[in-house]
Point group: C3
Chain length 148, copies 3
């Protein structure tokens, strides 16, 4: 059950990068809530000279929240799948490639989504992420099936 320390380091880097990237969505949301005067709770209204309160009030705020939710749905499973995948004796070259492409795909997804960019590009980035997660999951299931 030992794992290569270079491989672990690669996973650790991408896990850190993706978690920090996801946390940054909160900052984008807060900034847009101030800009559009759309606080999330009524007790924040005084502070921000609110014009509208709550969720679903402003599409520019909601767009960032949708990108954030997409990270929650895709990055968070990766944080576990990527880690457990390390124990399936993967090729280091393959694993590093998968982790790098996943990080790149998720960064591209966010940039395109938040800026209302090209839909096919966003779809490609999204399905790249899903595909890698599914590959990691399939490898894990295949490797550990006997221990079910």
């Amino acid at each position: 059950m030992n794992i290569d320390s270079e491989l672990f380091g690669n996973f650790a880097f991408h896990a850190g990068l993706l978690a920090v990237k996801t946390l940054c969505m909160t900052g984008l949301t807060i900034r847009m809530r101030f800009k559009k005067k759309n606080p999330i709770s009524r007790e924040d209204a005084a502070l921000r000279k609110a014009e509208k309160i709550g969720i679903g009030q402003d599409d520019d705020v909601e767009r960032i929240r949708r990108a954030h939710q997409n990270d929650i749905e895709n990055v968070f499973p990766f944080l576990t799948l990527g880690f457990v995948y390390l124990f399936t004796n993967p090729s280091i070259i393959t694993a590093k490639l998968l982790f790098r492409i996943f990080s790149a795909a998720r960064l591209i997804h966010t940039v395109v989504y938040v800026n209302e960019g090209s839909v096919p590009t966003r779809m490609a980035a999204f399905f790249t992420g899903i595909g890698i997660n599914m590959y990691l999951g399939g490898s894990i299931l295949n490797h550990f099936i006997k221990a079910w």
Copy 2:
């Protein structure tokens, strides 16, 4: 701090299974969004011949999203609780039983919820999942209390 490799394998299998299962909710949502012509963002509207755009517009789409959110709230904590629980010197038989029942309960929960099935069955599956997560959490707190 060593853990049994058979036990780790069992956790790895169920973690992989549950993460893949949760990722599949995205596929169900996309399919239903196409079927009900309810894309999530306005830039997707042309692609999908949209009739309504955004969140909260179509109950069949929202039903799948609620099932997905329920996974996020219950499966994601399990991915950490199950892993840390491995380090509490659990009985292998108990641990494997808990992981298997958790997986089964979450699969049943989704099938029943998405198909608008029996409420008591869905509740039983839901509380089985919550109960196991709480047991894992309680075991962890109890085992590591001195290291707080």
Copy 3:
């Protein structure tokens, strides 16, 4: 790649505590949904003598859901960041301090948010959590940058 068992125990305790704390939000939501007769799905309506069905119908229910979502966005990344941080050879004193403050900040955040308490206190608790997560993430990126 060895980690100190006392340090791991400290992380394990706080990971367990925070995961259980986040799971408890579900219980608060269910209780409030009963009290305000606001079930989430139409098939639950008979059971709960519903007056309104779904999401966004009752601000007291939504308040708890917002606090829960805030945990999902902040506690879940911590469960991975805290674990990977253990492998960056941190000072045990620093690490334990960070984990303890993070747990305290997230508990304070929830209590203040759910009870519609002081906004500056909630903000301070929120940014303490974000700050610690960012510090953990930055330490990980710095430590593992060569393995990118």
